[in-house]
Amino acid sequence: MNEAPHDLRDYLFDELSAARKAEVEAWLATSAAGREELSRLQATNQALLSLPDEEIPQRIAFVSDKVFEPSPWARFASWLQVDGPRFALGSAMAMAVLFAGIWVTDPSLRYDDAGFELAFGAEAPVAAPAPAPVPTLSDEQVRAVARAVLAETSDDRQAQLVALIDQRGAETEQRLSREVAAVSEDSEMGYRMLRSDIEKMYNGMTDLALVTR
């Protein structure tokens, strides 16, 4: 039996070009075995196609049904993608929401050795100053510094104390002098008044004695 110029299954499935199809048909005209093989292929195909279509037990749910209902975000995204102006409007709305969020939350961003820290509102922590580095001294050096500081402090304190005492002493002396003078003045005035009163009383008694005499 001559070989078929092309696969008979391709011929059956209509996968050949018109030219190749013609070649196969010319070959079939001369080959009984080829016709028999093609007959079996066609019978197989017809048997397969004899299967009745399966009826759907129920219709496929439409996307308009509740089960297919898109989420609000999906609808919003779909609405945005319709045209440019809507996209621009959507972008503006998104920016407005963003700025409103910033205004409401009052965020602050801080960076220190521990890294970035984002805080919101008045509760934002105040950055603590970094501690100054402490130099390392020997014990002897520490004692020497301490002695120098104490000596300097002692001399200064004594000078300040003497100056303070001198100043307070002068002030106290002046104040006492003023008070003594005031008391003396008051005493003299009181003496004069008392004397005046005594003289008046004596004169009165004298007048009374004369009357009674």
Binding site: D7, R9, F13, E15, S39, R40, L41, A43, T44, N45, A47, L48, L49, S50, L51, P52, D53, E54, I56, P57, Q58, R59, I60, A61, F62, V63, S64, V67, F68, P70, R75, S78, W79, Q81, V82
Partner: protein, 182 residues
């Protein structure tokens, strides 16, 4: 047919813009073919309905990813194919009873009526390896070209041809056995 294709493209474009009714029309047009393909591969009608439902849901959600609307049928069947493959992986098909297989493959079996032929064809399809069965279904029942089946199943055209040929030869042995020369 051309008019129908144009209408499908228009419906797809409308559905992409959120027109739910347009997609509903697409569902109505394609649900029978999709269900038929799935049920012949899966066998169980209830499971096939669920798979069909999932197929159209995924199609609706992924419609924006469809690059070429002219290839909507291949794209839709690729989703259905993948869903079917997933089903087969989750649920191993029941083994065919030896007596049924013997009956289906016995050339002397008399096919007295269409109902019996239907049973034989179903059993013969069920006896095929899954990949061959899928390829035959897409070729014979859905009429896709080899390159379209390659697009749907994600394998080279040569693999598709091999699967279709092998499957078809096995079916031929059952459904159109060679005449005995003895």
């Amino acid at each position: 047919m051309i008019f129908r294709d144009v209408e499908d493209r228009d419906l797809i474009l409308k559905a992409r813009r959120g027109d739910v009714d347009a997609f509903n029309v697409l569902v109505t047009r394609w649900e029978r073919r999709v269900f038929s393909y799935i049920v012949r591969s899966v066998g169980d009608r209830e499971d096939s309905l669920d798979i069909s439902q999932d197929t159209f849901l995924k199609a609706y959600r992924g419609l924006r990813n469809l690059q070429n609307v002219e290839r909507f049928p291949q794209w839709l069947f690729r989703i259905a194919h993948n869903e079917t493959i997933s089903w087969h992986r989750k649920k191993r098909p029941e083994p065919i009873e030896d007596s049924e297989l013997e009956r289906a493959t016995n050339p002397s079996t008399r096919r007295e009526n269409a109902a019996e032929l239907t049973v034989v064809v179903k059993q013969a399809l069920k006896s095929l390896p899954e990949e061959q069965c899928q390829a035959v279904l897409l070729k014979v029942y859905q009429g896709f070209k080899f390159h379209e089946i390659a697009d749907i199943t994600g394998v080279p055209v040569s693999t598709v041809k091999s699967r279709v040929y092998s499957g078809f030869e096995a079916l031929k042995a059952v459904l159109a056995p060679a005449r005995s020369t003895a």
